[in-house]
């Protein structure tokens, strides 16, 4: 902790590091989005109809709704759990 400039100062991020962090973040989000799209597409659309109709039908629509909702939900949950682990400094019960 620093008190009036004394003590060990917290490591300050340079602008380059900030940009790198932002890029990593963006990469992660894009990656998740791509995975989501491809998973839900293969699950809901390619398997059931193989494009004999232009519009999506009700079954596919419902499937996509559920798929996306679930994917996001799980993603958030896993993220939270990982963050918790990171804070504790433990992983799979090991330190």
């Amino acid at each position: 902790m620093s008190f009036l400039g004394f003590g060990a100062a917290q490591p300050k991020l340079s602008s380059e590091q900030k940009i790198a962090a932002a890029e990593a973040e963006l990469d992660m989000v894009t990656d998740m989005f791509n995975r989501l799209v491809s998973t839900c597409h293969s699950k809901c659309i390619t398997s059931s109809s193989s494009y004999y109709e232009g519009d999506i039908n009700k079954n596919e629509g419902l499937c996509i709704d559920r798929c996306v909702a679930k994917y996001f939900d799980v993603n958030v949950k896993v993220g939270e759990q990982m963050q918790k682990l990171g804070q504790n400094g433990t992983f799979m019960g090991k330190r």
Binding site: E53, D55, I56, N57, K58, N59, E60, G61, L62, D65, R66, K70
Partner: protein, 560 residues
């Protein structure tokens, strides 16, 4: 068996005396050349063994094969509903499903009925659902009642809001207000008439451009060209598009198990005919209001779990029916206790007491031996856990106390004013809510029985049912298809009192006896008040389904 054994005894002795030659069986030089000496039937014991294995295994296999076929049959039957085209902003029809565990068994049994027999067909028809489960009797009832009360409050709120808005509009439009408006307009816009220099105009344009670019959706990507389709369209539920005078022609409520149905009907009456605010809360909490315990004591919505789409598999304990009179006496005790607290002016409740004890122990810990201290604190923790558990238990029981009991529906129950205007002239009008979907109590109800036998004496019947599951499955499939087809009719108390009553034959006698002793909700009379009954619609699950084949196509043709 014993006779045959007796008969065989002399034969066996003879065999011991003179070793019996093995039967030769069938043989052939060609087979011999291939290394197969004799083909003969196996011994009697092996024959018995194999035929038994074959019978059990074959029966099982046949059953599963038939189940698969039945499932395919019904999923194919309802598939036209799932194949309708679907707009991106549409939400499909949603069923509300209440699942109660069968008597003396786990919730899993009822969930299995849903998961194996009903869900595949719902999925094929692209019908969404919300699942509510209970782990003890009364939870569905109080959940239903609480939901209805919430909806009623929402309706009152909405009405007040619209009235308020109308009043404001009238005020604004009145003649007196017009000159004021004009001056206001002058005040805010008068200065704008000054001509701008070119620089300023350019600056404005730049700002406008930057504002537009700020959100990438405005200049590129998926949203750029499909703006109207993707962003400006709010999600519309299929249920909200129903005819205003036919709110019962959409959605739907499924009760899995006769008990769930009974609880649903009672909960419906409790919610509709009962008071909006908890009468018990006023009595018990009224005194405590001055203290700070109020938040803890106010009964809230019971914790009815909402399961996700693929149901949770953990078994939930089925608990014995809660004794209503017992709960009442307990609540009385609570009031007594609170009175005592008031009298002595003691602000510490039990919780704080235990806490102080713990802190005392902790201070002791620092001075004493470590081992002893650990034991002490552990014991303390255990005691605390126990009391907390008991408290939670009591809280849960408190939550299940009905706002109005079934004996009082007829005399004290009152159909709410805010709803009665939707039921004028023998017509049912859709109740306006925020999401525009008719509330679940306007949607039709259906019951799916859960046939579940418990105990050893029922084993023969259970074996019989095990091998005939595909027939049951066919029945469930037909019922689900009827629900999907929206085959509805008005509630008829003389018939619908007894829907799924054959399930009650499966309830074990011991459980029934215990239930009657404990005042179980499932075993009391089926009460339904006329004021509720004549507004209720049900699914017509009797009768053959093939008749509706034509109407099926007509329904399928009409688009959203």
């Amino acid at each position: 068996m014993s006779e045959s054994v007796k008969q065989q005894e002399p034969v066996a002795e003879a065999a011991q005396a003179v070793p019996k030659p093995k039967p030769k069986g069938y043989t052939n030089p060609a087979l011999k050349m291939m290394g197969i000496n004799n083909i003969r039937l196996p011994s009697r014991n092996w024959m018995v063994f194999w035929s038994l294995c074959g019978a059990i295994g074959g029966g099982t296999f046949y059953n599963y094969y038939q189940q698969k076929k039945v499932r395919e049959k019904w999923t194919k039957y309802v598939k036209p509903y799932g194949d309708k085209s679907f707009q991106l902003n549409n939400l499909p029809r949603t069923l509300t499903i209440y699942v109660a565990p069968p008597p003396d068994d786990y919730l899993d049994e009822s969930l299995l009925v849903f998961r194996k027999y009903i869900k595949p067909i719902l999925n094929a028809a692209a019908v969404d659902f919300i699942l509510f489960t209970e782990s003890r009797q009364g939870e569905i009832r109080s959940k239903v009642a609480q939901d209805i009360r919430d909806i009623r409050k929402e309706i009152i709120q909405l009405e007040n809001d619209t009235k308020e808005a109308e009043r404001i509009r009238e005020k604004e439009n009145s003649i007196l207000n017009k000159p004021v408006k004009f001056f206001k307009w002058l005040f805010f816009n008068g200065h704008k008439k000054v001509k701008k220099s070119e620089e300023e105009i350019e600056k404005d344009k730049r700002e406008e451009f930057l504002l537009r670019v700020k959100d990438a959706k405005n200049i590129l990507g998926l949203y750029y060209k499909n703006r109207n389709e993707l962003i400006n369209k709010p999600a519309v539920s299929e249920d909200s598009l129903v005819d205003e005078y036919e709110p019962y022609n959409t959605g739907g409520v499924l009760c899995i198990g006769r008990g769930a149905y009974k609880e649903y009907i009672i909960g419906l009456q409790e919610g509709l005919l009962g008071p909006l605010e908890n009468p018990h809360a006023e009595k018990t909490v009224g005194i405590e209001d001055k203290q700070e315990n109020r938040i803890e004591e106010v009964p809230e919505v019971p914790e009815v779990k909402v399961l996700s789409l693929d149901d949770i598999k953990s078994p939930n304990n089925v608990e014995m029916p809660t004794n209503i009179s017992e709960i009442k006496s307990e609540s009385k005790n609570d009031t007594n206790e609170s009175n005592d607290i008031n009298n002595t002016n003691d602000t510490n409740d039990t919780n704080t007491n235990t806490n102080t004890n713990e802190t005392n122990n902790e201070t002791n810990n620092e001075t004493n031996n470590e081992t002893n201290n650990n034991n002490n604190s552990n014991d303390n923790e255990k005691v605390e856990e126990l009391t907390e558990k008991q408290k939670e238990e009591e809280k849960k029981k408190q939550k299940l106390i009905p706002y109005i009991t079934r004996e009082k529906f007829e005399n004290e129950g009152e159909f709410p004013k805010e709803l009665s205007k939707y039921y004028e002239n023998n017509k049912i009008k859709k109740i306006n809510t925020k999401d525009n979907i008719p509330p679940f109590f306007q949607q039709p109800v259906s019951v799916f029985p859960v046939y579940n036998l418990v105990g050893i004496t029922t084993f023969p019947r259970r074996i019989y049912r095990y091998y005939n599951k595909h027939k049951l499955m066919d029945r469930y499939g037909e019922m689900t298809a009827k629900v999907i087809e929206k085959r509805i009719r008005k509630f008829d108390a003389s018939v619908d009192k007894f829907s799924a009553i054959d399930e009650e034959e499966d309830w074990s006698k011991r459980w029934v006896k215990r239930g009657i002793e404990n005042n179980s909700e499932w075993l009391q009379d089926f009460v339904i008040d006329d004021r509720v009954a004549n507004k209720l619609w049900v699914y017509d699950l009797e009768g053959p389904i093939q008749e509706s084949q034509e109407s099926n196509s007509t329904i399928a043709d009409t688009q959203l």
